[in-house]
Amino acid sequence: MKNTKVKAIIKSIISVVCFLVLLAVCTYYVDRTLKDKGNYLKYKEFYEEEEPFDVLFFGSSRMLNGVYPMELWDDFGLTTFNMAQHSEGTLVSYWQMKNAFHYNKPKVAVVDLTLLQDDKIMEHQEQERGYLHKALDHMPLSKIKYDALKDVTEGIDIGEYLFPLAMYHNRWNDLEEIDVYLELPQRKGAEARVGITKMYEAEWEGRTVATSINTEMYRLDAMVELCEEEDVQLIFTLMPATGMSELEAMGEIYNYLELYAQEHNIPFLNFEKDKGVVNYTTDFYDNSHLNPNGAKKVTYAIGEFLMDNYEFAPKSAKTQAAWNQAWSDNLGAKLGEMILHDDHENLNYYLLLVNDNTFCFDIKMPDVSYIEAFGAEDMFAELKLTKEDIIFDSTEDAVVVTVYDEETGAYFHSAKFIPKK
């Protein structure tokens, strides 16, 4: 009798446990399907990396759009990941860093300080709340995540971040194929915005040094401390973002940061001060973000600095193979971008994408007036294209750009641009 009762209890417990496991599995897949894929896939790529990265990049959308890890792999053989996130201030960057080091400790961490701010949720509107989700939702459940949430949200609505389905369960209405078949973006975290905004060079010289210490400086102290503890080399950067209001307002603070970096013996790559890396007429997507043309230049400059100042361990054959595969996939992504901007109208955007050391291209047009017709004088100057480089063909009625693989010379893509009458 007693035996039967015990058996019944065990059966009940097994039944409940099985049901809960099944429910958890289903909820996991529901959660995965409904997640914001752009963000989810970005960090999935990070967590799936098996060997330590050489470099991790942290910061706001300036960094996100300013450094392309795949280019660093192609040019320097560096394995890097761009962890930056939109509107991310120093507070969230600190927690991103702490979480990232827990899963993959790099040799170098590069932090962009353009958006030196404290991103407490209390001071933020709905939009910033969304950015916080982008920055924090990917963190696996852990004490670090809990501490990060407690710090960033000040304990308010912490459940919303611990259980992000609360945020995006309504996405059932916007599901696409990518939500089911998860394909990694192979950008290693970076974002590319294709567009051109003509900028001006803001004067750096003559700015005074801030006398008061910004309230968020203690976050930098914490970052410095964390990197020392973890034996990770820290570099500060200031992305080119001229003309933006923050720069006008914070120029003094940035000068102070240089002194801070010197004091702590931290390299400070100030692309805003060191003019000459980017072209202000062709390299900006808008007044605060670089376009691919500018990003590749900044990426190259950072790559050179890294190679000159640090020694990186050779990569295993497995890692090399994986990154080479990612590079080929990335080429596919580049082709995708070209096709996306093969709109027969915006020659500048297309040239922006074509200006890549992976490609070579030829350009045909009936006569030189077509450059003016597309307002592409700046871009032609940027590409250092002279009349000798252009094939003039009076039988054409448009500008035709044909892109080839730089190494093999194989045909890659071509597009035809007809000026509006």
């Binding site: 389905l165 609360a166 945020m167």
Partner: protein, 500 residues
Amino acid sequence: MLFNSVDFLVFFPIVVLLYYCIPNRFRYIWLLVCSYYFYMCWNVEYALLLLGSTIITYFSGMLIEKFAKSAKENGKAHKKGAAKAVVVVSFVLNLGILFFFKYFDFFTENLEKALSIVNIQVQMPQLSLLLPVGISFYIFQALGYTMDVYRGDIKAEKNFLKYAVFVSFFPQLVAGPIERSKNLLKQFSEEHKFDLKRVQDSLLLMAWGYFCKMVIADRIAIFVDAVYSDYVTYGGWYIAVATVLFAFQIYCDFAGYSTIAMGAAGVMGFRLMENFEGPYCAVSVPDFWKRWHISLTSWFRDYLYIPLGGNRKGKFRKYLNKIIVFLVSGFWHGAQWSYVIWGGLNGLFIVLSEIFAPSRRWLKEKLGWKENAASNKVLQAITTFLLVDFTWIFFRAPGTKDALQMIQSMLTVKNFGIFFDSSLYRLGLDRRNFYVMILSIILLLVVDICHNKGIRIRKWLESQNLWFRWLVYILLIESVLIFGIWGVGYDKAAFIYFQF
């Protein structure tokens, strides 16, 4: 603490887990602590009102029993009178609390208006008090107990804590069902062993309640709120659609709460009374009221209609009593004339239905109308729905004037075209959300029709194989997670009946 809040999802499992760990004789104390905590999550001070009502009715019960016993044993008529006096005192004190917190401002405001008609200008005080959540429910439950003891239907509860948990039992504390002492009180002395099947069944009930509330009611609310808050812009057919949808919103909102309450109580072994039985399957307005908010309707029947004379004093008094009951019921819902009109209209429909019953029967006989034909039942159900739905306008509109303007708009504005373009999808619910709403209403009606036909879906599910049962459970839970209106961007919508 709302049922559809994270707090409750943490609170409830802890309560249940400890409930089954605690020896049976102490469980009611644990439930009492939890119930007061549950209530105090809204307002700590107002728990004193709950306690006050509990103390009044507890001692009333003791005194009534004492006087009644004495009257019976010694034949002293004045003792019976004393018992009656205690009932009156208990009612006056409890209804006094209710009046003060719920109706005081309404009373003074109307008194001011009435006096101004006879040219007496008086400035009456306005208290603007926060209405204690669920006050109408627990006061009615406690008063029901007083009457039951007076009538000798139950013995007065000697254990104060046990009585206190009867009044404050958290699953049904703030929005019913208004339990009867005969049913619930004794259950606090019973031993409730953990029974997996019962727990499963109760959890399924809770999941269905959440589905009704979060997927159906809160989704409909988006559309209805958009129309009712700007009925001048969205007149005519918009109001008609919103009013039809509101009928389902209020049903799913309230029945959703009751179902979660029944499920939550069931997990701990308690049986609460059914509060809804497929109300929109009703074939007449009286039938509707046998299926809608049963605990309140039966409360009024037992403790107001019958004491008023019920149907024992002739037809006119019967009809009058019914009208009175429904006017009071309307007033119970809120201190607003529109609620009174809503109640009055329902009472009127019931009386008219009874008055014209013989002539309807005569006409049907003459026409050879088949009473039991399915087509007749459907027609009756639709007619009943339309009549009841018409009264919901007064219930939902901000005031009587607004309700009348909305009715006028429905009759005059010609915008039938909204059914043929995408106008309906621009009021907070896009096309897909609208379809989810319609499909979930159809599911609700299927469940109700099955219920009406005597098919108990939960029983039927029990007879199915494990894989199918689990599939249904998981689908229900996941659909609440996916399609439910919850999380960021939505305020946790309070249950409509909390305000009563």
